[in-house]
């Protein structure tokens, strides 16, 4: 243990570089510090998004005006969507845990381009401020929905330009992170770290990075076109000038469908780390999981049209998109089967991260299976743009990515802060959160099947029952969140010091001190031929 103590003196948290305090953080190119910068900025934006979500639910408690007027509501769901998608779940796991852990997991001292890494964070912050500027200056917050559909997006009088520009900058930040990760994974694996020995989380980051790289520019140019349309009237999406609004939707979803896999792949990766650790067992079907990761990343490019089944595409395109949507569901199914099989005959140590991971599987299944309802033509025509879709994506984006994020933070917390959290409170937080989640979003499935459209400020009184339940759920959920955050914040400062490897895991990040030293490794590790990330005995 003496080695650990020595390392602790100059761990990355306490390390003193050229600058002290805050400045030392925002000028640091250490991937671990950048990871935490992302964590704090993302959590800040997440809190804003949550408050907007709660406000919407409060408004929907009863038909008619409850707390805000229609214009405010429309801006609220737009800003909520933009924040949650572009600022929270797209960067979420890769930028926080990818940055913090990926170099350690592959046995490297940093990412390939540390300065570029820091620049990505600055771009993220710049994007955030641009979007926020849209709220406080000009003619009020944008009210187009996060999809910015043409032609409404260039007819609205609200302050759309800064928001669109902000989303563009955020996209750029995401591209640079992806680029950095790809080069790092290709070039900086330690000796012996073959592709077939990479931890699964790294594999998912690899797949994600490709999507970030190849899909984000398409939405970038689409947003530029929207801006040019507003500024100069170029005409590309304006039906009055011969443009085709449906083409806008194609371009938007060419990015935004792959983007949903940007959100979920790293989440799946985190789950694939957690389950073997707590089962103390070799992951079931390592290669199958890798193959399904890459399959999702690839097929995910080809199915965007399932968001447009009622938009007026040709029948051929509808047929094709529906078919491929079903194909893309299969690799996710494979993952679920492998996760559950990993538990079989394990020696399962049920701890907070595993509660999150198991509930992740449950809500992810509901989210994913409801995706199948949306992927089928006849049923999607009925529930498209209704509360059913809202339920689907909250279940999968925030049940999936959100729960995985929670699992990840409870799993890697001792590594990141070198301290342990209070397990009792952590479990209580999970339970409240989980119950609230089910109460909040399950009614929306029902409402959607009954025909309640989404983005509705007001609704018929027949829909009220479900909405009341849902609003109550949002309060329970928020209570759970508060418990969790208070517990983590307190423990980060005062928790009991954590061991190097509290969960007895085998991946490399657990073989360095908690918290890691500035350089991660004193010596670059070497992976022996018969060693591997999940070699449990």
């Amino acid at each position: 243990m003496h080695k650990e103590q020595a390392a602790n003196m100059s761990n990355y948290l306490t390390y003193q570089g050229k600058y002290k305090g805050l400045l030392g953080w925002i000028t640091s190119t250490d991937h671990k510090r950048i990871g935490l910068l992302y964590l704090y900025s993302i959590l800040t934006m997440f809190s804003v998004g949550v408050l907007l979500g709660l406000a919407m639910k409060l408004e929907l408690l009863a038909p008619g005006k409850t707390i805000m007027d229609a214009q405010t509501y429309n801006s609220t769901f737009t800003v909520h969507g933009v924040i949650m998608i572009f600022m929270v779940v797209v960067p979420g796991l890769p930028a926080v845990f990818g940055n913090f852990l990926m170099p350690i997991m592959i046995g490297a001292k940093d990412v390939a381009f540390p300065k570029l890494n820091l620049l990505s964070w600055y771009l993220y912050v710049a994007g955030v401020f641009l979007v926020l500027a849209a709220l406080f200056f000009g003619n009020g917050a944008p009210d187009t929905g996060w999809t910015f559909y043409a032609p409404y997006s260039f007819k609205t009088g609200t302050n759309l330009l800064p928001a669109v520009f902000g989303a563009f900058v955020l996209g750029f930040s995401s591209i640079l992170t992806g680029l950095n990760f790809l080069v790092t994974i290709h070039r900086m694996r330690c000796p012996g770290m073959k592709w077939t020995k990479l931890p699964l989380f790294v594999w998912t980051l690899y797949g994600t990075a490709w999507i970030q790289l190849l899909a984000t520019p398409v939405v970038g140019i689409t947003l530029v076109l929207i801006a040019l349309e507003r500024l100069f009237g170029v005409g590309v999406f304006d039906p009055a000038l011969g443009g085709d609004p449906i083409l806008y939707q194609h371009l938007f979803w060419i990015y935004s469908h792959p983007a949903v896999y940007i959100m979920i792949l790293p989440a799946m990766g985190a789950i694939s780390e957690i389950i073997p650790t707590f089962a103390q067992k070799q992951v079931f079907g390592y290669k199958a999981i890798i193959a399904s990761t890459m399959a999702i990343a690839f097929v995910g490019y080809l199915v965007w049209g399932h968001h447009m089944f009622t938009a007026g595409m040709s029948g051929t395109a509808q047929y094709y998109f529906s078919l491929l949507t079903f194909i893309v569901a299969i690799p996710s199914a494979i993952k679920v089967f492998n996760w559950i099989s990993t538990m079989y005959k394990g020696s399962i140590n049920v701890q907070t991260p595993l509660y999150w991971a198991a509930s992740f599987i449950f809500v992810f299944m509901i989210g994913g299976l409801s995706g199948l309802v949306l992927g089928a033509l006849a049923t999607d025509v009925h529930v498209h743009d209704t509360a059913f879709v809202v339920a689907h994506f909250h279940y999968i984006v925030f049940g999936g990515t959100g729960f995985a994020f929670m699992a990840a933070i409870h799993y890697w917390f001792p590594k990141i802060y070198g301290r342990m959290y209070d397990k009792g409170w952590a479990n209580a937080g999970w339970l409240v959160f989980f119950i609230g989640f089910l109460a909040l979003y399950t009614p929306m499935f029902y409402l959607g099947m009954m025909g309640m459209p989404r983005r509705y400020y007001d609704y018929m009184k027949e829909f009220q029952g479900g909405n009341i339940l849902s609003t109550f759920g949002s309060w329970i959920l928020a209570t759970g969140l508060v418990i969790i955050i208070v517990n983590l914040v307190k423990s980060a400062r005062h928790g009991t010091p954590a061991e190097m490897d509290p969960w007895h895991s085998k991946t490399l990040e657990w073989q360095v001190s908690s918290p890691p030293s500035v350089e991660n490794f004193d010596e670059i590790p070497e992976i022996a031929e018969n060693d591997g990330p999940y070699n449990y005995k």
């Binding site: 194609h250 060419i254 080809l302 049209g305 595409m313 051929t316 094709y320």
Partner: protein, 95 residues
């Protein structure tokens, strides 16, 4: 690393490629000025494709690069092509 074996491309290769590119440019101008009807687009694009192939292989050194870089480039072009084809599944079949 810094002194790893790097292929030095002779001037001659570059000169030849440039000549070929210029020739293809003028050929494509020539070919569209004769009436080919609806094949003009195809003709012009085929010439452009050959040209870009030359630029990629020689000017951008792909010929001398490791296979995985070639594979990546091929993959990117392929996926872009597939995306265009899929988009046209909509436009070609609209009634």
């Amino acid at each position: 690393m810094s002194n790893e074996k790097h292929h030095i491309v002779p001037y001659r290769v570059y000169a030849l490629v440039l000549v070929a590119l210029l020739a293809l440019t003028f050929a494509s101008i020539g070919i569209v000025s004769i009436e080919l009807g609806k094949y003009t687009v195809a003709a012009a694009l085929i010439f452009a494709t050959i040209k870009s192939f030359l630029v990629l292989t020689y000017f951008m050194h792909l010929k001398y690069d490791k296979p995985y870089i070639k594979a990546m480039v091929a993959f990117v072009f392929a996926i872009f092509f597939v995306v265009i084809v899929i988009t046209f599944l909509d436009y070609l079949y609209r009634t």
